[in-house]
Amino acid sequence: MDFANLVAQLNAGTILPEGIIIATLLLVLVGDLIVGRTSSRWTPYVAIAGLLAAVVALYFQWNNPNSISFLGGFNSDSLSVIFRVIIALSAALTILMSVRYVEQSGTSLAEFLVILLTATLGGMFMAGADELVMTYVSFETLGISSYLLTGYMKRDPRSNEAALKYLLIGASSSAIFLYGISLLYGLSGGETRLTAITANILANNVDQSIGLLIALVFVIAGIAFKIAAVPFHQWTPDVYEGSPTPVVAFLSVGSKSAGFALAIRLLVSAFPAVSEQWHFVLAALAILSMLLGNVVALAQTSMKRLLAYSSIGQAGFVMIGLVLGTEAGYASMIFYLLIYLFMNLGGFACIILFTLRTGTDEISEYSGLYQKDPLLTLCLSVCLLSLGGIPPLAGFFGKLYLFWAGWQAGAYWLVLLGLITSVISIYYYIRVVKMMVVKEPEEMSEAVKNYPAVNWNLPGMRPLQVGVVFALVTTSLAGILSNPLFTLANNAVLLTPMLQPTITTIQPAPNPATPGYADLESETKEAIEG
């Protein structure tokens, strides 16, 4: 096998978006090294441009007939494309809101951007990883960069505590995940490609063994940590409270979406033999997440902790779509994540703005904000109401589609529970809105009384303004004009062969090695013998 042949088989064009991001990352890093601290004037925009260029490159990957690349290591099907778009967009929006935040804390911006871009890269590779080693390396890339971002405000004990907690819990969960996938490797007789694992497991007659169940439980534990589903959520509130807020925004959207992408791909393609079991486990996790996330959020006094618990609850809603196992279920999940991207990041942008102006994130300090900053109040209200699912806004349509898909699939109890908990969630979202809007002037909080004049000309404030307004517009319009997003989510599922029922019925193909791989093996043998 000569070099040109190998290059053709690698099909490396599928990772062009990731390549663009790596180039951007290096540009930011080297540019900052050469120019010095003044580089913070242009590095965020370079990073955003790179991420948007990656999104454009992803657009051309849509419905790519030849999606499998790197000899089965990476799959750029429509499902992975849509998740990679979500992750890249969440990183771009996060950068918009982090410029001012990072500048004001006196930390260097370029390194922050580099680590954030690496996290994005890890998430994007995780969304398309089709092979166990690739899955694990990208899982760790996302994880380790998240730990670093969490501890970025290194003189703040809260940030240190958050980073340490996240690191310890993350390391143990990734060890458990690794144990689970190593069991899969063993059960399938030494196969790392997800598509071939099931066939091998069936051929080896271990599809009903206790080993496969243990592998399943361990893998779910690793994934549930990433998406912060309930028994594995303990890190969430503390990490969210102690991390820099833009990082929290990225963790709650980008990292979570990557976790969901991994969950779909790994569970659907590697565990069809224990399909009932994983649906059952995930349904339990969804129920627990919805209940605990939404109920505990009622008692929170800090805005960041409130959004931490709310994001646990939202993960529960999204998991309904995952549990259903129907095309509508997956499509509704993607649709909800697309909407969640805008509304949640919008909410975080508003919190960041308020924090930068007043230095606090206590919910009680928001009272009477309407009198001083109507734009901020409007945007935060819209985003929170949308998260709660109030009708004309985007979140309502997302939840409607999820619950409709659940009802169609016969998951009545799950849908009912989702309805009840979303009513609970409306209560705590509305509490914040009420605090901001209807308070009398004399009930205004100290922070709002001392609210500085709105000045968008300070360095780094423009991008934040752009982020806030963009989130406001998309969250209010994406509901009414949701058809393009809806079509996009549906097509992503329809165009993904893995999620089609005809394909998911298992074909007992004995070790379908790709031609390149067979070549390689014979080459290796020759090399060993020679």
Binding site: I115, T118, L148, S159, N200, V206, S209, T355, T360
Partner: protein, 215 residues
């Protein structure tokens, strides 16, 4: 049983005993320095098992990475934390210990049953043995190319992250940073105790005149 088999069985027994003893020592000993050195012993015994399995390269990597890097790093960490503190013995600490032991034994029983009960598909391919580096190299540049390259990005980022965490910060002068009032390298949100003590105190808000900060 010929001589080679006997040697293998004996060395397996010795290595397994070494590993189990050292691992128990890591967990049970009170002094953390002993634990750290015993951890090195565990790693070396595992490397011995790899050699018994004809995986010489993996054994060498195990010694280099785990004993040479990870364990030395742990020892450095222990020695740099120069804190003498007598811990007050917890009351009812035995409950925690017994629970831990029960959970560990349960997990061991579960995994042990699983290992014995599963009909593992044992590969019939010949063991690569000393040519394993060639095989690993072939994989790195063909079907494991992407994870291999991604790992290099991961290492670059880890390097940058370590520098960010460890370097002495350049703290800008107060003059340059007139518009901000928060202490450098901290979160802009006030800690909760402070927030409730002095709600909205103007000295940390944006837009007011610059006051003395702890730079």
């Amino acid at each position: 049983m010929n001589l080679a088999d006997g040697v293998q069985i004996v060395s397996f027994g010795v290595l397994a005993l070494m590993m189990l003893g050292a691992a128990l020592g890591v967990v049970l000993l009170e002094n953390i320095v002993y634990s750290a050195f015993l951890l090195g012993g565990v790693f070396i015994s595992i490397a011995g098992l790899y050699i018994l399995l004809n995986a010489g390269f993996v054994a060498a990597a195990q010694v280099l990475i785990y004993v040479g890097a990870v364990n030395v790093l742990i020892l450095f960490g222990i020695m740099l934390v120069n804190k003498r503190q007598n811990f007050v013995p917890l009351r009812n600490a035995w409950v925690g210990k017994i629970t831990t032991a029960a959970v560990c034994l349960g997990l061991f029983a579960l995994l042990g049953t699983m290992v014995l009960a599963t009909p593992w598909a044992i590969s019939t391919a010949p063991v690569a043995g000393d040519t394993s580096t060639v095989v690993i190299g072939m994989h790195f540049f063909s079907d494991f190319l992407l994870p291999f390259e991604l790992a290099s990005v991961l290492l670059l980022m880890a390097l940058i992250g370590a520098i960010v965490l460890a370097r002495r910060e350049f703290l800008p002068d107060a003059l340059e940073r007139e518009e901000t009032q928060q202490p450098v390298l901290t979160l802009p949100e006030r800690p909760r105790e402070l927030a409730s003590a002095a709600p909205g105190s103007p000295d940390r808000t944006l837009g007011t005149s610059p006051t003395q900060r702890n730079v």
